[in-house]
């Protein structure tokens, strides 16, 4: 309850403060030997501090967790996370003021994911025999870094690397696990810091 309240308050706070909307469409590869695709939406909430909601999904199933039985199949993963992005202002370093189009960043996030979106799986009973959907949700943390190269004022390429640590799901008796993912995407929205007077 506390978590949900905290996340909701933060989202409302961020939406009210968010300035230019930034949208990234990306595709990538994870260390679980799967391809993934996703979208990230967000904006700046403070100086050099951005907030993004990141949603992604595996394109192909993870062979190690895949099962032909739909109720047992955990080879897919779709997740949504709230990420705080700290942009590194390279262009504030002496002599580098022209490099404002290069935007390195660190991000830390908190999210939830599902290992299978099929109806059968979502009705799978947990260890207590309950079939509620929420018990299938797996909480995960993400931490990573990336680089945005703006090709124009409002369009750029984003390289992102992050580690996703999936928590243990006690109710479903799933162990914790983690994977790393690298993605490349196109982003829209001004990251420029240059001020016009």
């Amino acid at each position: 309850m506390k978590k949900t309240l905290f996340i909701l308050v933060t989202i409302f706070f961020a939406i009210s403060l968010a300035r230019p909307e930034n949208l990234t469409l990306y595709t990538g590869r994870a260390t679980t030997q799967v391809s993934l695709a996703g979208v990230s939406v967000g904006g700046d909430i403070w100086h050099f501090l951005g907030m993004h909601i990141d949603m992604f999904k595996y394109i192909k199933p993870d062979e190690t967790l895949y099962s032909g039985v739909p109720i047992e199949n955990r080879g897919d993963f779709a997740g949504a996370s709230l990420n705080f992005v700290l942009k590194i202002p390279l262009h504030l370093i002496p002599y580098l003021h022209r490099l404002e189009f290069i935007q390195p960043y660190f991000s830390t996030g908190y999210g939830f994911g599902l290992e299978n979106l099929a109806g059968e799986y979502l009705k799978k009973p947990d260890k207590d025999g309950n079939t509620i959907f929420l018990s299938k949700l797996i909480q995960y943390d993400s931490f990573g870094c990336g680089l945005i190269v703006m090709l124009t004022e409002n369009f750029g390429i984003k390289f992102d690397y992050r580690k996703l640590s999936l928590s243990e799901n006690e109710k479903m008796v799933y162990n914790s696990r983690s994977f790393k993912r690298f993605s490349i995407g196109i982003c829209f929205g001004s990251y420029k810091d240059k001020i016009k007077k």
């Binding site: 905290f6 403070w46 202002p89 404002e100």
Partner: protein, 215 residues
């Protein structure tokens, strides 16, 4: 055999480079010598020769400073022989090439300096740029033209400038220079993003990172 070819090629390249105008500009030296000769004509009272000579320098020289000085001296020569209109025309040309040109009392008479000072404001305005904090670089066409507080005589028109203070994002500003007027531009960096705000944001991100883990 191979080494011999390399040595020959090296000498050929060296000779080619030395003969290139980038390395040794005969034309520039000749123009400067011509300019000094023209000044001597003026000093010895041979004004016709001085006029022709300075005109030749303007025609031949490629260096803006030299052309500007030649215009000033041509103006001085015309001023001395009483042709104020021609003197004015050449001083205007000099101002057009170098709006912040000033005349030194060592080289020019007070009368001529005053004549020049009367003409200048008709064609030049003053741009005054200050910033908080000071010592910000002023860029025009990707070249540093000074540091704040910055005062420069400029030809009338609109100038796009980029003011760069290390530790703050660059600020793009336009300044509209009008003749015979001082145009002020004040830039306040203190309200912009800076390293200070970055460190504050870093602290917030680190705090959020741990709060999310604790929840």
């Amino acid at each position: 055999m191979k080494n011999k070819k390399i040595i020959i090629a090296f000498f050929q390249i060296t000779i080619l480079l030395l003969s290139s105008p980038y390395f040794f500009s005969q034309e520039k030296i000749e123009s400067k010598e011509d300019f000094n000769m023209c000044k001597n004509y003026y000093k010895s009272g041979e004004y016709d020769k001085a006029i022709k000579c300075f005109s030749d320098v303007i025609w031949k020289a490629t260096n803006t400073n030299l052309i500007t000085n030649a215009h000033v001296y041509l103006g001085l020569t015309y001023y001395t022989i009483g042709d104020r209109q021609q003197a004015r025309n050449h001083l205007i040309s000099a101002i057009g090439l170098k709006p912040d040109k000033y005349l030194d009392q060592v080289d020019f008479s007070a009368d001529f300096i005053n004549f020049f000072r009367d003409i200048k404001p008709e064609f030049v305005g003053i741009g005054y740029i200050e910033s908080t904090p000071p010592n910000a670089f002023v860029y025009h066409n990707n070249k540093i033209i000074g540091a704040t507080p910055f005062k420069k005589e400029l030809l009338p028109g609109e100038f796009s400038l980029t003011i760069v203070k290390w530790g703050y994002p660059p600020i793009e500003a336009n300044i509209n220079i009008m003749n015979n007027e001082i145009t002020n531009l004040s830039i306040d960096f203190s309200k912009q993003k800076s390293w200070k705000t970055f460190f504050r944001s870093s602290f917030v991100v680190i705090a959020l990172h741990y709060i999310l883990k604790l929840l």
